[in-house]
C-alpha cells in the first residue's frame, strides 16, 4: 500500500475502476497545459524538487573554502477533495449505470483549472512563474469585435517568428474566448476556428482556468512541466454514509524560454 491508502477505502475493485475511469474522462478535456507544454516524469510521490542545474554563492564557510548551494524548484502539491455516497457505490456494484459521481466531476474540474492557472498565470507564493507573467512581450490588444481575432493571432505568431521561435504554434483559450471563437464565422461564412488553425499550424485548446488567450511555440524545450505524482485518487476517510476521497498531484513548472509565448486580450 502506498500513501494514497486506497486499500483502506470501503470500495470494491469494480468501484475503484468506475471512479478512476470517471476521473480520467472528466479530467482529460480540461487539462489544457498538458496539450501545449513539455511534460516530464512522472517521477513519483517522493520526488520533491526539480534540479535547475544552477548554484548560488553562499559565502565562505572557512578561510579558503567557498560554499555554493544548488538551486532547485520545489514541487507543489494540488489536492481536490470529494465524496461519494456509499449507497451509490453499492448501486454501482449491483450494475447501476448512472452512479452519482457529481462531486468527483466537480473536483476534477477544479483540479484541471488549478493546474492550467498555475502553468499559464503562475502561483508566485508557490514558486511558480506562469507563462503569461514570464513573457516579455506586451499583451496583444483584442477588441470586442470577433472579426479582429484572426489579426490578433496573426500578430502574435508574427511576433514569435520575429524572435526566431519556430512553429507550430498553439493557442490556449479561456472558456469565454473559446465560445466566442467557435461561434464566429468570418466574411463569407468561413469558420474563425479554421482560420486560426491555419495561422497557428497547431492546436487550439479549450483551457478552463486561463484568462483571455495565450499563443505559444510548440517547438519543444521552452515550457517544462515536471510531474512528481501524476494525478491520482487517494482515500481520506469514511463514515456510514459517504467515502471521502481526493484527487492529488505534484509538479513544478518553469518557462525556460519566456519569449516563446505571448498573451492576447485580457490574459
Amino acid at each position: 500500500m502506498n500513501h494514497l491508502l486506497r486499500s483502506h477505502a470501503p470500495i470494491s475493485d469494480e468501484g475503484w475502476a468506475l471512479i478512476d475511469e470517471e476521473a480520467r474522462q472528466r479530467l482529460t478535456p480540461g487539462l489544457a497545459a498538458r496539450r501545449l507544454v513539455d511534460f516530464g516524469g512522472p517521477h513519483g510521490w517522493t520526488h520533491s524538487a526539480t534540479s535547475l542545474g544552477r548554484v548560488e554563492a553562499v559565502g565562505p564557510v572557512a578561510e579558503g573554502v567557498d560554499v555554493r548551494r544548488r538551486r532547485v524548484l520545489p514541487l507543489v502539491e494540488l489536492r481536490a477533495p470529494f465524496a461519494i455516497s456509499r449507497d451509490e457505490l453499492r448501486d454501482g456494484d449491483r450494475g447501476a449505470a448512472d452512479v452519482d459521481l457529481d462531486d468527483l466531476d466537480r473536483a476534477a474540474q477544479r483540479l484541471a483549472e488549478a493546474e492550467n492557472a498555475a502553468v499559464f498565470h503562475g502561483a508566485p507564493e508557490d514558486g511558480i512563474t506562469g507563462i503569461v507573467p514570464a513573457s516579455p512581450h506586451p499583451a496583444i490588444e483584442l477588441g470586442a469585435d470577433p472579426a479582429t481575432y484572426a489579426a490578433a493571432v496573426a500578430h502574435a505568431v508574427d511576433l514569435l517568428k520575429r524572435n526566431g521561435l519556430e512553429g507550430p504554434y498553439g493557442l490556449a483559450l479561456s472558456r469565454e474566448e473559446w465560445t466566442r471563437v467557435v461561434e464566429t464565422s468570418e466574411h463569407g461564412g468561413y469558420p474563425l476556428f479554421e482560420h486560426l488553425a491555419l495561422i497557428l499550424g497547431g492546436p487550439i485548446v479549450w483551457a478552463p482556468g486561463v484568462r483571455g488567450a495565450v499563443a505559444l511555440s510548440l517547438r519543444g524545450g521552452d515550457f517544462l512541466f515536471d510531474a512528481g505524482q501524476d494525478i491520482a485518487i487517494g482515500y481520506e476517510g469514511h463514515d456510514a454514509d459517504a467515502v471521502a476521497l481526493y484527487l492529488e498531484e505534484s509538479f513544478s513548472f518553469r518557462s525556460v524560454t519566456p519569449e516563446a509565448a505571448v498573451a492576447i486580450g485580457s490574459a
Partner: protein, 125 residues
C-alpha cells in the same frame, strides 16, 4: 552428476521450465558461495589469502546478479515487484508493501510507483 535442482520429475518438465530450474540452481549456488567466502573472510588472518578469497567473492557477486537478471527478464511480474524494492532508498518493508500493492492494482507506470490515473502528457491527443 546430481539432478536435484528439479522438484518435479524432469521428464515431465518442458525445456523452458528446465532452463529456469538450472538458473535457479545457479543462483542458489552463487548465493551459497558468497556466504562461504563471507565466513572465510570473517576468520582468515593471512592478508594474501584474504585478497584471493575477496577476489573470488567479487566474482560471485557478478554471477549472482547475472542469474537474477536472467530470471527477472523471464518473469515480468517478478521484475515489476523487484523494481519497487531494489536500489531504492527508505524502508525496505514499506517499499515492498507498496510494490506488492502496485502489482495487485496493475496501475503502476514504470517510473511512477504512485498508482496514478496514467494521464501524463496530452500533446498530440
Amino acid at each position: 552428476m546430481g539432478f536435484d535442482q528439479y522438484h518435479e520429475p524432469p521428464e515431465e518438465l518442458g525445456p523452458e521450465a528446465r532452463t529456469i530450474a538450472r538458473v535457479f540452481a545457479s543462483l542458489t549456488e552463487e548465493a551459497e558461495a558468497i556466504n562461504w567466502y563471507e565466513q572465510r573472510l570473517a576468520i582468515e588472518q593471512d592478508a594474501e589469502a584474504r585478497d584471493v578469497i575477496a577476489d573470488a567473492r567479487h566474482e560471485e557477486y557478478k554471477h549472482f546478479a547475472m542469474d537474477l537478471e536472467l530470471l527477472l527478464r523471464r518473469r515480468p511480474e517478478w521484475r515489476a515487484i523487484a523494481e519497487g524494492i531494489l536500489f531504492r532508498a527508505g524502508s525496505i518493508t514499506a517499499n515492498a508493501d507498496a510494490a506488492e500493492a502496485e502489482s495487485e492494482d496493475g496501475a503502476a507506470q514504470p517510473d511512477d510507483p504512485g498508482g496514478s490515473l496514467g494521464i501524463g502528457s496530452l500533446r498530440g491527443s
